[in-house]
Symmetry: C2
Subunit: 119 residues, 2 copies
């Protein structure tokens, strides 16, 4: 097992909304994602999902509020809750969620990415 440097891993890809797996703990995965622009409304029926901002800032829109997250801030989106991540400028984040989660949850579409790409 090698240690994992988050910024070094982030330097290895540049596309948006395409999560890369960097570590597994039991049946949970840590993923890095670069985001910019608007994602799609979706939810994850079976699991909570953790967002941690590594660099930049982002918003998570909910039906009744919007949460702004800055570097060093995290948020737990509860399972079954509709949300839409967005960011005006590029933001680098880490996700923590069970192995196998699809980024667009129940809303498959053109932003749906592979859920099995390691970096």
């Amino acid at each position: 097992m090698e240690k994992i440097n988050l910024k070094e891993k982030l330097s290895k890809f540049s596309d948006h909304w395409a999560p890369r797996i960097i570590a597994e703990m039991n049946d949970y995965q840590f993923k890095l994602v670069k985001i910019q622009g608007e994602f799609v409304w979706h939810d994850h029926t079976d699991t909570d999902e953790v967002f941690i901002v590594i660099e930049g800032k982002m918003e998570i829109e909910f039906k009744n509020e919007t949460v702004e997250l800055n570097e060093g801030e995290m948020y737990v989106v509860p399972k079954g809750v509709q949300h839409k991540p967005r960011s005006d400028s590029e933001c680098k984040i880490m996700l923590v969620e069970p192995r196998g989660v699809v980024n667009t949850g129940n809303t498959e579409g053109e932003l749906t990415a592979s859920n099995d790409v390691w970096i």
Copy 2:
């Protein structure tokens, strides 16, 4: 659900080796800990454990190697593997592990802390 600012949470306590829970995702918890000096050799029989360095640097000693972790680096200690965290100067870290894990694993002693303190 409020967003969680890691440095703001870290500013709220100063003791060492006493994890504070800051978030729960399903049956997993995110904990902040300040460490300094030598911990005890221990393992967690039933679970992997994730270390993420928020500020400072630390080492994790294993029986056959020592891993140095700097700010922005993470490590997954596999279940059942004996390890001893240590740090010459104060280091601020985040742990991710299932709810209920005890910090000293199978080696109860004077550094054993409560596993149910939220901050």
